[in-house]
């Protein structure tokens, strides 16, 4: 199965590299959201809890865009049928999708984090804090990727898929929101970045693990035909 996942993943990444639609759209949307926050919150800069919240919400909503698009291209161009005909474990398809989504989120953050620091963050981000932020975002992205793939796979078969993706994904992702916001807060303190609270890292890790297992067990049922 590893080889299948590899091949499928590379296909998705190569498609995106050749005709980038998902990542640029997410990135532009994210930066635009930061601008919206500036006006909506009526602040020149944010710090601490507010900063963590702004980053978290922006990431989440940009991710919703990515999830919506994740399966649509496959379904519309018939790529899905080709994979199903191959003697490949169905689960491989969705593992590859989840990894692709994770990669897209990582690319998004390459744009989002610097934009966020420059546009809105009150103190500059120290190097140590940046490393800790990367670790935190990796944990959060894993959760978003798993749940996003699940929800995307369910929604792609429905008629109201653009509506259903956020409706299903947002409640499910709430523990990620809580964990990310709480854990990121000490990194954005004006007085100086603090340590990552282990408790929230543990919550994120537990979430990733449980949903990863649940998704892995259920992926098969979503791709039967």
């Amino acid at each position: 199965m590893g080889a299948a996942v590899n091949a499928l993943l590379r296909k998705d990444l190569r498609l995106e590299l050749r005709a980038p639609q998902v990542v640029p759209a997410m990135a532009i949307f994210a930066v635009m959201t930061l601008v919206v926050f500036h006006f909506a919150l009526q602040r020149r800069a944010v710090a601490g809890e507010l900063a963590a919240g702004v980053l978290c919400v922006t990431l989440l909503f940009a991710a919703m865009l990515g999830v919506s698009r994740l399966f649509v291209a496959d379904r519309e161009e018939g790529g899905l049928d080709a994979v199903l005909l191959a003697p490949v474990d169905r689960t491989a398809l969705l593992v590859a999708k989840a990894l692709a989504l994770f990669a897209f989120l990582a690319l998004l953050e390459v744009v989002l984090v610097p934009a966020f620091v420059v546009l809105l963050l009150e103190p500059a981000l120290a190097a140590g804090a940046l490393a800790r932020l990367v670790l935190l975002l990796a944990l959060a992205d894993a959760g978003i990727a798993v749940v996003g793939t699940l929800v995307g796979a369910i929604a792609v078969e429905t008629r109201a898929r653009d509506l259903l993706v956020p409706l299903l994904a947002l409640p499910l992702l709430l523990p990620v929101v809580i964990g990310l916001a709480r854990a990121a807060t000490p990194l954005f303190l004006p007085a100086g970045a603090g340590e990552l609270p282990v408790r929230w890292l543990a919550v994120l890790g537990l979430y990733d693990l449980i949903f990863g297992l649940v998704a892995y067990a259920l992926f098969d049922f979503l791709v039967e035909d």
Binding site: G179, R182, L222
Partner: protein
Amino acid sequence: MLYGKRLTALALLTAVTVTTGFALAFFYAPMDADQGFMQKIFYVHVPMAIVALCGFVFGGIMAVQHLRTGEPRWDLRSYVAIHLALILGVGVLLTGSIWARASWGQWWVWDEPTLVSFLIVFLLYACYQPLRFSIEDRDRQARYASVFAIVAGAFVPLNFLAVRLAQAYVHPRVFATSQGGLPPRMALAFLVCLVGMALLYVTLWRYEIASKQTSFRLRALKRKLGGDDAVGDRGRSAAPSLTA
């Protein structure tokens, strides 16, 4: 399997238990020291919440069985379980809101982690029927609904954990987790109310499944006697169908 069989006895038991429970709540349990009379809402609100949450998880378990066996009757059981839990959920949110208003003068408070978690779970499960409704292929509809029910069922405990951790424990309350701290007379009244609510859920669950089965068999009979054209259009429905 005929669901209507022992329904009368079950319904009777439910009626007796619920009535006894409420009577105990009002006449036997002592008045709460700091909240006074309004604490009595606790005896209807918390049992509904516990039964609703168990109902959601139960729906998830039925969904697991459905995916494992592929038999549509499990899908029906899962659907009804979630459907009923959702109705109870409306009651939980309404009574919780009333309690919040009585306690703190506001119709909603974020301090109560259980209520907040419940709102999130409710919003998630509210998508269950729209999801079913928007998938036309019956087979796929049932399968996807089961996947959703399982994911959401796994989500329920995680959500409660996360929200609880996020709260600052400002208001310790007489809530489900502090059952051990209840004085014995309150605990008894609460327990009877809880059992009554659970029985009510099971009764309604069996009732609804029996009613749906009757519908299906009537349609099947009509088709047998009159041919396919005697059977009118079912109209679009989110509920699973047992007719082949």
